[in-house]
Symmetry: C2
Subunit: 565 residues, 2 copies
């Protein structure tokens, strides 16, 4: 009988930060050893961060990563951790083709003791791995104290055949996988089912270690787990936090014993936390300490401000109210209330004098005059960003972005756009969830998220409310002309969002949409708006993908595209 | 003995415009038949336009393309062209996997008479074909009046093995290829050498038909040609224009007879024309009739204005001079001169009153105050764009874009950026070339380019000068503070551009750059500037790729990236 303790090191790395990532690996290796683990598994491309895109093609980077892996092996041994098997992801080079490889290295006894190269290279959706990597061509079984450990990297278990099929034939005691699987709504269950299927295929438990944290437009949710050969969930790490989980393998047992299983999250909490983590990590990894944004009193900017406060604290949020002649008193009050609720810095910068100054020269009307207001606000937001070193965040949602219902260089300015993948109806749902959580005691920064692994309840909220109820309840308006409502230009959001989900996420064509029961006029309006707004989306800031199909590299359509159904 | 006349139909299609593309195919098929051709060859993905990116994944689009191909076959026959063999590119569907295919169909006798699917799918540089297509798996030889015609699509001849190797074994009389090969400096000769190599491999002439025209950030230069089995150039179409060339194949002759060979272009003319075609087609295909841009008196905006005038006529260019308190009289004069030279509409919009109005509220200094000036200009340019329905064009060059030496939402606003892939030293060279061409009689719009196939000499220039000499000669300055010069913040452009070319296009690392002989301080400054500006580049407008490595989808680096050499 062989017993092996595995540590599942669900960590948040930074792309390109070889030193920082190596230090974190050392720290978690120590912790794993202290807890009597013999094997510690890190996520895909731990050392380099993930995804590294064309950085993989840079020879000097691959060289530096190689040197760092060797340093790490030496350093582990020098720190008395030479006995530990440390499975780390990194970039390798295929010597025959000189092409990069997506590699697992196992550090042991002061050396790179074993290696495995990812076989299946995803090249769909947000992935471009066929562009940058050469595929590995052999399966690997590690022998650790007599236990046969099969290994695989992420996509290897999503495709049939390949290394897993090979391992099933060779016979293994456990399948150990490292992953960089980005978050999207509902994906957790898909992963569990997939792992259960592979466990049945190899007749052994499957260890699934996923990275956590934000990288540009992707958020990794962690949620590492182990399923037994029969699919039973044995161990599960919490989502959105760094975590070291443990799994004890008994190679002679028919069933493995269970460990800690983190509870599932509320679906709204999941998405909200994903957006916050995307923003939080973008800031941390690009060295921003605070954000600035326009607060209109509307729900989009309110939700983004709340997320920013949860990410970096209300005191690091600079809200700017920029009322025009068309702004209602209610909106100004809502903006001020929101800022007070989250403890944000709050300035009022009326745009009317600037609008008048421009109009004296330009004399615009119609949409041009509306856009002018939005662009004056954009200039002010960027002035705050430049003069105070703050990250400007854009507050557009996915419904707007889909329909082009935003002003480029106006409300679209910013380095990050936390809710760009949330349809408007989802914006309302998450706002309501955040208020419910606040009522239940979740203070500002009280999310279960990277950096709050200790479970700090957060800073108490004034009156226990985060987002002003009237921001949630009132009819949406851009307030760019008197009495304007979004519904003047767009279908009602309840309807619009259903059409958008069908057209964009489910790729329904015109005939499908009509068969779905949507009326012809709505379908034609929405399709035309979406198709024409591609050029604006191209220049929109990065923001976290949380749905099955986000704008950006997930949906690559030409700007110049005459196809209309 | 079999004699076959081939027509090489080098046409400019539009992505998604199935009707328009089909009509153009009909027109050229008529012309080919009138000139006694038996076979007419169109470029890669003629019917759909190219590249169609994720539009390939849209089932309704594939269906529509299929219907259109069948319509075209019927229509050809109905028009008395049933005897002609019409080789057209389109998107197909692999019935087994339901994945799209990059397909050649040969229309004949009223039906889709033969088909071939591209075997090698490029997935590097600007290409993502592995993402959207399934690879074809068989070679095809057409029998036309006893002549054996092997076929291939673009990348199929760039890779060894595959269909060409197969055709070499099977034996063919000619290799007929359709291509969508984007322009880059120096690529013409690479294509010729490649075709000569394949001709030797298959022991037969190679017909190379390339598309022409702009599609988002790519420009296709045409330059279709035929090389004989021994590599001799037999026929060559002009670059950057639509053209129908002819090649007469005699299957029994050891050497084929030559036809028309278009002269090569001056290297500066080539790049200048590529930029103009990128802009011209972006406008035509997105239905813009005019452009607006800020005219600073500097060389970048002058060159872009000249290109715009060559693209759509000076009368469709709206120049806007936006002097500040720091603008020199010389700059204002140069801007006015340029506008007069090209016959542009010209307005002066001083920004000082607006700057004062903002400063009353914001009280900015340093870079924030400099950016404010640029952003006021951005707002004005977009006001012209919105109120007059003009395409705003950004005037940034590649050196600026590399170093982040531009103001996002300021001088970077626009829907298209014609010189974004030109280093500053190249901007000067092309400006000088355009003036030389003007002196030699090339008027406004007199370029050899799509839409000017008839060779109109263009509208005569006032004094025979296009770009004011002082705009070319003076030291570059953003004029955002008194006495400012670009060289205060950046190395001199002569040096900077060499470092940029080495670092970006040739991917030299720090050690390589030092070995290249650049001094350490310059190397470190430039690398740091380039690495930090990625986020700005992501939001920059599209512009034509003309070098071996352009920013944009050609160089996909993460924004969040801590790697520093």
């Amino acid at each position: 009988m062989t017993q092996i303790r595995f540590a599942l090191a669900q960590i948040d790395t930074c792309v390109g930060d070889l030193d920082g990532n190596a230090d974190k690996i050392m720290r978690y290796a120590h912790l794993a050893a202290k807890n009597n683990a013999q094997v510690v598994v890190f996520p895909e491309m731990t050392l380099t961060g993930y995804p590294i895109e064309d950085l993989a093609l840079r020879r000097t980077f691959r060289r530096a990563a190689w040197d760092k892996a060797n340093w790490l092996a030496t350093e582990l041994e020098a720190n008395g951790l030479g006995d530990l098997y440390v499975a780390v992801g990194t970039v390798g080079t295929d010597h025959a083709s000189d092409k990069p490889r997506n590699r697992m290295v196992v550090l042991h006894d002061g050396v790179v003791w074993a290696g495995y190269d990812k076989h299946f290279l995803p090249n769909y959706g947000v992935f471009d791995e066929f562009r940058i990597f050469a595929a590995g061509d052999r399966s690997v079984v590690l022998d650790v104290d007599g236990a046969r450990i099969g290994v695989a990297i992420c996509e290897d278990i999503w495709q049939d055949g390949g290394p897993v099929a090979d391992l099933a034939e060779r016979g293994i005691d456990v399948l150990m996988t490292m992953n960089g699987s980005p978050y999207e709504e509902g994906k957790t269950h898909v992963r569990h089912e997939l792992a259960a299927r592979r466990a049945a295929e190899v007749h052994a438990p499957v260890i699934y270690v996923n990275q956590v944290g934000g990288q540009d437009d992707l958020v990794f949710d962690g949620g590492s787990f182990v399923v037994d050969a029969d699919g039973t969930m044995l161990v599960r790490s919490p989502m959105f936090m760094e975590h070291l989980g443990f799994f004890d393998l008994d190679t002679t047992a028919a069933r493995q014993s269970a460990g800690e299983i983190a509870p599932e999250l509320d679906p709204d909490e999941e998405v909200y936390t994903a957006c916050v983590l995307g923003l939080k990590d973008y800031m941390a990894k690009n060295r921003f300490r605070g954000v600035c944004l326009g607060l209109s009193g509307g729900i989009d900017s309110a939700l983004v401000a709340a997320m920013a406060a949860d990410a970096v604290g209300g005191e690091n949020v600079q809200g700017i109210s920029m009322p025009s002649m068309y702004s209602s008193d209610g909106s100004k009050d809502d903006a001020a209330d929101l800022a007070a609720n989250i403890g944000a810095k709050y300035d009022v910068q009326p745009i009317e004098p600037l609008f008048v100054a421009y109009q004296k020269q330009l004399d615009l009307d119609g949409v041009a005059a509306e856009n002018l207001q939005a662009r004056i606000r954009g200039v002010i937001v960027m002035a705050y960003s430049n003069s105070k070193g703050l990250l400007a965040v854009a507050t557009g949602n996915k419904s707007e972005l889909a329909c082009g219902y935003s002003t480029i260089y106006g409300d679209a300015v910013g380095g990050y756009a936390p809710i760009k993948d949330l349809l408007k109806t989802r914006v309302w749902e998450l706002s309501r969830w955040r208020n419910r959580a606040a009522a239940a005691g979740m203070g500002i920064g009280g999310l279960h998220i990277v950096g709050n692994e200790q479970g700090d309840p957060g800073k108490p909220l004034r009156n226990g409310v985060m987002i002003p109820v009237s921001s949630i309840e009132k009819a949406p308006s851009a307030e760019l002309r008197p009495g304007q409502k979004d519904s003047d230009s767009l279908p009602e959001y309840e309807l619009l969002d259903k059409v958008l989900a069908a057209y964009i996420e489910h790729a329904h064509g015109r005939a499908d949409l009509l068969a779905d029961g949507f009326d012809e006029q709505t379908v034609d309006t929405v399709m035309r708006l979406v198709d024409r707004a591609e050029w604006k989306r191209r220049q929109y800031p990065l923001g976290p993908k949380v749905t099955a199909l986000a704008f950006g590299r997930d949906r690559r359509l030409p700007v110049t595209n005459a196809f209309r159904e």
